[in-house]
């Protein structure tokens, strides 16, 4: 049970949230972050592989100095520095040590060692003497904490299980970190840190109490937003641009509102309403802004901000997968892409990987078509399907994507393409549908869809792909998820309390994935 312990690089979002939680939301976090790397479909998994480049380290250093300068400036220092500054030019090692110990514990998610404290106290003392400024000393001491690998990475630790020394357990502190990032996507709070002392969090009762506390907190919302943004690749929105001559309604605001709309629907349905997860693929309930109203073709009364909205019965907008966000993300700059949309549904919603284009792909079939201009996406893609090699995968991807072809590259409705009516009928593994209303029902009832959520949440929590030995655990989680009526809270609790979440195998030895990972 369990997989290798991980060393997980903080995402840009996690870094910012940790800083806001430890020092306050008004501390500015500047500079460019290294792009987060996705692996096996999740940034949360990629974080166990991603490293540090010289240019990102440069940025980290200037960011650390700038954050530290703000923390000790005249506005903020009173919150963090307990003592009165000593006379100019003199150091105060005791005060510096207290400062370093308190903040260091929050940043490293564990108590600092004496050596780690001493090194920072020395920086503070020497800087104070050199600059005649006690707070400058604290600034540089703090900067060195913010630059440490133990802050920039979550380094998980294991220890032998006292009842069965063959097995490794995550330490209490590492469980706390996993839990906090899993449910809240940020650094553990004071109560959670306190609960780790003396290895308390290893007991079911103590862990269960913390899990319940975190699940009941409004911060769960932020955590789950991070999860869904990861699993639906919302970081890719950074690279999305649409041709504004073809799509005058396109703007950065539109993209931001579209992402927010989808996340709002998910959070409202799963967390506020505690709804059945599968209903996300049929729900007509949504939220609107005026910017979005332009794309959806609906009037929005609220001038600035959001209002609840429900698409009328019979609307093709059934389920989050018909939202402008996902339609725009899985399109070309100038037109829709049934193939990209099909891959998205297969991979991110059903966890059915689509193999890459075959090695001998020539695309020559498209070339041999007697100069016929294809009018619709379906016609263009049928050409692929006449070739056996192409058809093998396109038959899996395209029907779902073509079912969504009523939505253009920014997700606006259209009945025709180049004057020809769009045919959205198709099938998912034999289940026929005629448009998105049916397709949503097919997804709703498809066993792969909730199983995929289970697998993704689990991988997100542990920061790695699942091991073969975890198949049974996954089946068990799927069964319990079903029994709960597909309620997210129940699934989150099951995962956090599972052995897989709390145990570990040895450390990862090699650069590549072990063979037994699936």
């Amino acid at each position: 049970m369990g997989g290798p312990l991980a060393m997980r690089r903080l995402t840009a979002e996690q870094y910012k949230r940790a800083v806001a939680d430890v020092f306050g939301a008004d501390i500015k976090v500047a500079g460019r972050f290294e792009p987060d790397a996705r692996r096996d479909g999740l940034v949360a998994v990629g974080g166990s592989w991603s490293t540090t480049t010289p240019s990102s380290f440069e940025q980290s250093e200037s960011r650390a100095l700038s954050i530290a300068a703000q923390v000790v400036d005249e506005t903020h220092r009173a919150q963090f520095v307990a003592c009165e500054p000593p006379p100019a030019g003199e150091a105060d090692d005791a005060c510096a040590a207290e400062f370093v110990r308190g903040i260091g514990r929050q940043l490293f998610r564990r108590p600092l060692t004496e050596e780690e404290v001493e090194a920072r106290v020395a920086i503070a003392a020497n800087t104070t003497r050199a600059t005649a400024d006690f707070h400058a000393g604290l600034q540089f001491a703090l900067a060195s904490l913010l630059l440490a690998p133990e802050f920039l990475f979550r380094v998980e630790q294991g220890e032998p299980d006292p009842t069965d020394p063959q097995h490794m357990l995550l330490t209490s502190g590492s469980v706390a970190s996993r839990l906090s990032y899993f449910l809240w996507n940020t650094t553990p709070d004071e109560e959670l840190l306190a609960a780790t002392e003396g290895g308390q969090l290893l007991s079911d009762e103590a862990l269960g109490a913390q899990v319940d506390r975190l699940l009941a907190s409004p911060r769960l919302e932020e955590g789950m937003r991070a999860f869904f943004a990861d699993v639906y690749s919302f970081d890719d929105f950074e690279d999305v641009s649409k041709d504004t001559i073809l799509y005058p309604a396109f703007s950065r605001t539109l993209l931001e509102d579209a992402q927010e709309q989808t996340l709002r629907v998910i959070i409202d349905h799963l967390i506020s309403q505690r709804g059945d997860f599968r209903d996300l693929f049929t729900t007509r309930k949504s939220f609107m802004t005026r910017t979005l109203g332009l794309v959806y073709g609906v009037p929005v009364a609220t001038r600035d901000g959001w209002e609840p909205f429900e698409f009328p019965e019979g609307s093709l907008r059934s389920g989050i997968y018909t939202h402008a966000s996902l339609m725009a993300l899985h399109s070309h700059p100038g037109r829709s892409s049934p193939t990209m949309r099909g891959i998205f549904v297969r991979e991110a919603i059903m966890c059915q990987p689509v193999s890459a284009a075959p090695a001998d792909v020539t695309f020559s079939v498209v070339q041999e078509t007697d100069n016929v201009e294809f009018k619709t996406g379906r016609e263009r893609l049928l050409a692929h399907q006449t070739d056996k090699a192409c058809a093998k995968c396109h038959k899996v991807m395209d029907p779902i994507g073509l079912g969504l072809d009523n939505f253009d590259a920014i997700g606006a409705y259209r009945a025709t393409e180049n004057g020809v009516p769009i045919d959205t009928s198709g099938d998912v593994s034999g289940e026929e549908f005629s448009d998105t209303r049916d397709l949503g029902r097919v997804l709703h009832d498809h066993p792969a869809v909730p199983a995929c959520l289970v697998e993704n949440l689990y991988r997100y929590a542990v920061g790695r792909d699942t091991a073969l030995s975890e198949r049974r655990l996954l089946r068990y989680l799927e069964g319990r998820f079903e029994e709960s009526g597909y309620r997210l809270h129940d699934l989150l609790r099951l995962i956090a309390m599972s052995d897989g979440f709390r145990t570990a195998s040895e450390r990862r030895a090699v650069e590549t994935q072990p063979e037994d990972e699936v």
Binding site: S50, T53, E115, A122, V155, D243, G334, R507
Partner: protein, 444 residues
């Protein structure tokens, strides 16, 4: 306080009874550290790569006759004005050695790593530019600079390891700030005043480095390697800080530019050309001011996402879906982007050739390789990859000729470049791509 004694706080300079940071403190430091290039030393050698996506149409792009004054086909017309500086290497192949041809990936890995990647996202790193920057880059503030004209920081092929990607700068303003903002020392400034904060910053990094032993002992091999990457990055910053403590030697060609305006980034061809132009200017000055000696410019990434404003389909999609015009014999809309890419390449070469340095130009002291991931993109062809070189590499290279590879492995190019840049390497590449034959035609 034994922990304190071990630490080389401020490298011993600021320890003891120092009360404030003043210049006398630095004098000793500078004496220890006076290894910078003396004035009058030879001008530095530079290396660059310039990438464009989706290749070309071989019969319209490849010259036929070899040697100097090669004739320019329709798709190379753009380089007419700089032909004397540009060597065309045609007909060099990427051998797949039984691996799949991963579309838009295998070809570029062949050129940059000499190995056919088994899986689509495998990078048999380090890439060529890294090998060369290890030779050329350690003397400068930046080991290398990566830039992408199409707006995505992910558009970079510069990799030290599978997961160590040097992200690209995409905004001219951010590039300017990185090079000429805080930490830039004008080599021609009348007076040199080291920033006392540099010593303090060194102490911050030094403490972090000292922590690593404890961490290292807790990690498995996979994570130890990632910690090594972290330490490599840390040492690079240490080196930058060290350089900031000594007065840089004057460089006549260096004149720090004005900051560019904050602009939009994106993959439409007009915007990409503009940003390429702006970043080129900054890059050239960064080279002249010896802030870096290695650069990687991605004009468009593999499977180029360039598109025309107002057009439904971009470059990559067009290469697959546009019909070959039966009369013209090629895809006119896709080919437009080949022409535009060649214009952008020619503009970089022209700018370097027009940039005076010493008795010659910046281009005389540089070698830049332009390359793409395919020849004919419609079929993802990795045979006969289009490659060009520009510059004299400080007199080591005869520019302006056409060399036909006749199906030789593309690793001959990479091997030649490493040798020209001073690496002692006599063979490069793996399996059928392994070669010990440089391209002697271009050696001066």
């Amino acid at each position: 306080m034994s922990g304190l004694d071990r630490r080389t706080f401020l490298r011993g300079v600021m320890g003891g009874a120092a009360v404030s940071v003043g210049l006398p403190l630095f004098d000793g430091f500078l004496n220890v550290n006076g290894t910078a290039l003396a004035s009058g030393a030879p001008l530095p050698l530079r290396f660059g790569t310039w990438f464009w996506g989706c290749g070309m149409n071989p019969e319209r792009w490849n010259p036929t006759a070899e040697g100097a004054d090669y004739e320019l086909g329709p798709e190379l017309q753009a380089i007419a004005g700089v032909q004397e500086h540009v060597t065309v290497l045609s007909g060099f192949n990427m051998n797949l050695d039984g691996e799949a041809n991963h579309p838009h990936k295998s070809g570029v890995m062949g050129t940059l790593t000499g190995t056919a990647p088994p899986k689509p996202d495998d990078v048999p790193a380090p890439t060529l530019d890294i090998l060369i920057s290890d030779e050329l880059g350690s003397a400068t503030r930046f080991r290398s600079l990566e830039m992408a004209a199409t707006g995505s920081a992910k558009h970079s092929y510069s990799r030290r390891g599978q997961n160590v990607v040097n992200a690209a700068e995409v905004s001219p303003l951010a590039l300017y700030t990185r090079i000429f903002g805080t930490g830039f020392q004008d080599p021609n400034a009348a007076e040199f005043e080291p920033d006392p904060r540099v010593l303090l910053r060194q102490s911050v990094i030094s403490a972090v480095k000292d922590d690593r032993t404890r961490l290292e002992s807790q990690l498995g091999a996979h994570d130890r390697r990632r910690l090594d990457d972290y330490l490599t990055a840390l040492r690079q910053l240490e080196r930058q800080l060290e350089l900031q403590l000594s007065a840089p030697p004057p460089l006549d060609a260096c004149a720090p530019p004005e900051a560019p305006a904050e602009g939009e980034v994106g993959a439409d061809i007009v915007r990409a050309r503009e940003n390429h132009e702006l970043m080129t200017k900054l890059l050239l000055m960064a080279l002249a001011c010896d802030q870096t000696r290695v650069f990687n410019m991605v004009f468009s990434y593999g499977a180029s996402n360039l598109h025309l404003p107002g057009s439904q389909t971009g470059h990559h999609t067009l290469t697959h879906e546009e019909l070959i015009d039966p009369e013209l014999g090629y895809q006119p809309r896709a080919t437009y982007f080949v022409g535009s890419s060649m214009e952008a390449w020619a503009s970089l070469v022209a700018a370097m050739a027009a940039f005076p340095e010493g008795d010659g130009t910046l281009l005389d002291n540089s070698l830049v390789m332009a390359h793409s991931e395919t020849s004919f993109a419609k079929i993802h062809d990795v045979l006969g990859l289009p490659i060009m070189l520009a510059g004299r590499a400080g007199g080591r290279v005869v520019p302006g000729i056409h060399v036909a590879g006749r199906g030789d492995p593309v690793t001959r190019v990479g091997l030649t470049l490493q040798q020209l840049m001073g690496l002692s390497v006599d063979r490069w590449g793996t399996r059928s791509m392994e070669t010990n034959r440089g391209i002697s035609e271009i050696f001066a």
